[in-house]
């Protein structure tokens, strides 16, 4: 087990190295890719869905909140505008009421002349300063002295020669003294009024005003020439006539209300911008105008209400006449909506302020002048060169009768409230920002959560994959080591799954391979020793063989030498005058024992042909012996072919026994006596081709027995006579010719030899030999020549 620990460490190291070599190809990498990819896909899908939902939720919430907040803001502004309008109306209503009260009292005086006179007398008694006028020579008018609750002025054209008011004028003065009773308390209570006054009818337009001011002096200063014209015509042209029209039914009140209002103008007495409210008085019969009761309020009061409008940070209000003239607005507001002041007084009568929306530098506001219906408008106002969205709420006040020089018409003031949308929607924007922030936070957390999960999963996958694929990597590493012929490797079995099973199987296989390999090595070792032994033996044998070969080679060389030495010389072949002899002999690779001879003695020719069995030196020696014996017998004059052969055999047999040459030979002789050819001895067939081309094959089987087998062959030896004529040819051969093989192992054969002999028989002996040998060699081709080839051709000259 200690060993196995070492192997395990090494194996794991190797597996790691291998993974390092192919980081993306390993099983582990694939495993990590697949599992990691699946987890990543899952996380991305779920995370993406969550993010998408959060975004949608955020969008919906923003929309919902925005909608709600916008509605609330609009409602608020609308309500604000309504309440501001109500405040303005309330102020105006109070002034109307005060004027109405004063008018009611004065009308009562007119309707009741008796009471009027009494009240007048009573007031004159109590307060003579109120009715006693003194002439002012500088102004050419009369006015009571200071100290009374009210000031009353009688213009020059109302005085008689002694500069005292005319009688009817004085009556009017006295009657108007009732103002002293009511006006001070009306001025003190109710809404803040600048002054209250009474103006007489057109034929005696005295002017009594409470409180006391130096009004005639002020008139002189502000309106020079007023003392020369009728008061009404000078200050309010057309107003009196309009009222007169109402009285006689020539015209109706534009608004069913007695009160007639002026546009703002500069007050002659106080010099302030004021608005006057008139309540005409009627004669008792209601047929004509009997003067008017009036009250002035300064614009400051209206402006105060409007300027108090405070919507969001910089929202403001304004009050505009129907012609677009803005009569109340803060300085800040004036700048925002681009109003420009122009000096009024272009027409007749009291002069006022001209500050119209129409002349605004902001086109959107100028447009508002011609269309100031109630409602909310969204305008773009230029602020320091940049268009800024504003919200403008217009609210029309109840209509009134408005005098303008020459006529009285209906008019309604409009209240406007201007707020930058940015401020209105500030809370909306804040809410949206909060939602946006919250959404972003959620998104960030979600992304972080995904990344964290991914990290954890990646680490887990890495850890698990190492465990799961470790076994397979170890197996792969071990397999490679086995491939590298390290059979000692074993794989640690760390799990009980398929990998564990494979590891166990692998270890068993490795064990077996190791066992077999070890045994094989031992076997190889043994065999190697054996082979080495055999090799030495073979070397020794080789050396022996070499020596033997050398010996045999020498023997063969000697044998070949002997064979060639023994053959007849060319001169011997040509010695016969009757026979043309040609011979061919070719020794095989290993010299055979072919023999041929031409022996001549006393004119007798003996032609021999034979074939010693076997090859080598012994064959050569045997042939030499045959030749020697044959020569000896020929020389000894043995003319009987049978005796010749029997003696030769006898001599050879004895020598074969002595020399223990385990061989014999076929041998035949042809004896030529000048006319016939006598064949004796056993050898191959003798072929005879006559001059006319006839072929004769002469078997020699029965003419003898192989030489050297039997001591006495006389019972077997015979002769055969073949007559020979001119141009007949005889062919002798050894079995080397007929048994020569071609590439297919087929023999040349006696028939082919005969064909060639017949084909060539007319030619010279040499040419016949050459032709047959050519044919034979062509037949053999590159095939091995097994035996000596000997061919003899005899031709009768």
């Amino acid at each position: 087990m200690a060993d196995l620990g070492g192997v395990r460490a090494e194996t794991i190291l190797m597996a790691n190295t291998q993974i390092g070599n192919r980081p993306w190809g390993s099983f582990r990498a694939k495993f990590i890719l697949v599992v990691g990819g699946a987890v990543l896909f899952d996380l991305l899908i779920s995370g993406g869905l969550a993010l998408w939902n959060v975004q949608r939720l955020s969008r919906d919430a923003t929309e919902e909140v925005g909608h709600g907040l916008e509605q609330a803001s609009l409602d608020y502004i609308r309500t604000y505008a309504n309440s501001t309008a109500a405040q303005v109306s309330l102020l105006l209503g109070q002034v109307n009421n005060d004027v109405g009260v004063l008018a009611g009292v004065l009308q009562e005086q007119i309707d009741n002349p008796k009471g009027q006179a009494e009240i007048g007398s009573a007031i004159s008694g109590i307060s003579p300063g109120s009715v006693g006028l003194s002439f002012n020579p500088a102004g050419q008018w009369a006015q009571n002295a200071p100290g009374s609750p009210s000031v009353v002025s009688a213009w020059g054209y109302l005085l008689d020669k002694d500069h005292s008011p005319r009688t009817d004028v004085q009556t009017e003065i006295r009657a108007s003294a009732v103002l002293d009773l009511i006006a001070p308390s009306l001025l003190k209570n109710g809404s803040s009024k600048l002054q209250m006054y009474f103006i007489g009818p057109k034929d005696r337009p005295i002017f009594r005003t409470a409180p006391y001011t130096e009004q005639a002096q002020t008139f002189d200063r502000l309106y020079p020439g007023h003392n020369d014209a009728n008061f009404w015509d000078f200050f309010f042209p057309g107003l009196y006539e309009a009222w007169q029209g109402w009285a006689v039914g020539r015209g109706s009140r534009p608004v069913p209300n007695e009160i007639t209002q002026t546009a703002p103008y500069t007050d002659a007495i106080t010099g302030k911008q004021i608005v006057s409210f008139f309540h005409p008085l009627w004669s008792a019969d209601r047929k004509s105008v009997a003067g008017t009761a009036g009250a002035d309020i300064t614009l400051d009061q209206l402006a105060g209400i409007v300027e108090n409008v405070k919507v969001a940070d910089s929202g403001f209000g304004f009050l505009a006449m129907s012609d677009g003239n803005v009569i109340a607005i803060s300085k800040e507001g004036e700048r925002t909506i681009g109003l420009r002041s122009a000096s009024g007084g272009q027409g007749t009568g009291v002069t006022g302020l001209e500050r119209s929306l129409r002349d605004s530098s902001q086109p959107a506001i100028a447009q508002l002048a011609s269309n100031h219906d109630d409602g909310i408008r969204h305008l773009l106002l230029d602020q320091n060169g940049e268009p800024v969205p504003f919200m403008v709420i217009m609210k029309e006040l109840p209509p009134v009768n408005l005098w303008e020089p020459g006529k009285v018409r209906q008019d309604a003031m409009s209240l406007g409230i201007v707020v930058p949308e940015r401020e209105i929607y500030a809370s909306l924007f804040a809410a949206q920002t909060k939602i946006f922030d919250a959404t972003n936070r959620i998104v960030v957390y979600q992304v972080l959560a995904i990344l964290l999960s991914l990290m954890i999963v990646t680490m887990a996958v890495l850890a698990v994959s190492k465990r799961i694929t470790g076994g397979i990597s170890a197996l792969a590493g071990a397999a490679r080591r086995i491939q590298a012929q390290d059979y000692s490797v074993r794989v640690p079995v760390s799990s009980r799954d398929e990998v564990g099973e494979a590891s166990e199987a692998f270890n068993r296989m490795a064990e077996q391979i190791s066992y077999h390999t070890d045994n094989l090595e031992q076997l190889v070792e043994e065999r190697t020793v054996e082979i080495e032994g055999a090799k030495e033996e073979i070397s020794a044998l080789n050396a022996l063989l070499e020596r033997e070969n050398r010996r045999l080679g020498t023997e063969l060389a000697v044998a070949e030498r002997i064979q060639m030495m023994v053959l007849p010389l060319a001169s011997e072949l040509a010695a016969s005058k009757d026979l043309e002899i040609a011979a061919y002999m070719s020794a095989a690779d290993e010299v055979g024992g072919d023999y041929y001879d031409v022996l001549e003695a006393d004119g007798r020719f003996k032609i021999g042909i034979g074939d010693v069995t076997g090859h080598g030196l012994e064959s050569g020696v045997l042939m030499l012996m045959v030749q020697s014996v044959a020569r000896a017998l020929q020389e000894a004059g043995t003319t009987d072919p049978v005796k010749f052969l029997v003696d030769l055999n006898s001599a050879l047999f004895k020598n074969i026994v002595r020399t223990r040459i385990d061989k014999h030979l076929t041998l035949a002789f042809l004896d030529y006596d000048g006319s016939d050819m006598l064949i004796s001895g056993q050898h191959e067939e003798v072929i005879v081709v006559r001059a006319n081309g006839n072929l004769e094959r002469i078997a020699t089987m029965d003419l003898g027995l192989p030489i050297g087998l039997e001591s006495d062959i006389s019972p077997f030896v015979g002769t055969r006579k073949v007559p020979l004529a001119k141009d007949d040819i005889i062919i002798l051969h050894t079995d080397g010719v007929t048994e020569a093989e071609n590439e297919k192992g087929e023999l040349f054969g006696i028939d082919r030899l005969c064909q060639e002999a017949v084909r060539l028989h007319l030619q010279s002996a040499d040419l016949i030999v050459a032709g047959i040998i050519d044919k034979l060699m062509a037949y053999i081709g590159p095939h091995k020549i097994h035996d000596d080839i000997t061919l003899l051709v005899l031709r009768h000259r």
Binding site: G593, T613, G614, D662, K663, M701, L705, P706
Partner: protein
């Protein structure tokens, strides 16, 4: 017993010695094992020995010398009847086998 080389095979079945293929061995020494085999057949069988040469395509002169020696050996044993089965299909057989009959007239030569 059997002697087998790439192009010939010689074996015995009972009293018959079969020769098959092409025999072109170098000399008496090379033929010695075959000689021993055939000689053993001659000595072991009392009545008859058959040399079946019908499958022997070629036999060189050394081989014919061997057959001659075996025939002479059979002749000396006398009691054994030697039968040689041959075929005229192969030229060497009709050329050489009759000599065996001459050496040992009692030899039963069957040339088919």
């Amino acid at each position: 017993m059997e002697i087998r080389y790439e192009n010939f095979r010689i074996w015995t079945e009972d009293e018959t010695v079969f020769f098959d293929g092409v025999l072109r061995l170098a000399g008496p020494e090379a033929y010695a094992p075959i000689y021993s085999l055939a000689l053993a057949a001659l000595h072991e069988n009392n009545e008859r020995v058959i040399f079946d040469l019908t499958g022997l395509e070629f036999l060189n002169s050394s081989g014919i010398n061997l057959l001659a020696k075996l025939t002479i050996e059979a002749r000396t044993l006398a009691v054994v009847r030697l039968v040689v089965k041959g075929t005229a299909r192969y030229p060497w057989q009709s050329k050489s086998l009759p000599n065996l009959k001459k050496l040992y007239p009692q030899l039963d030569l069957q040339l088919a």
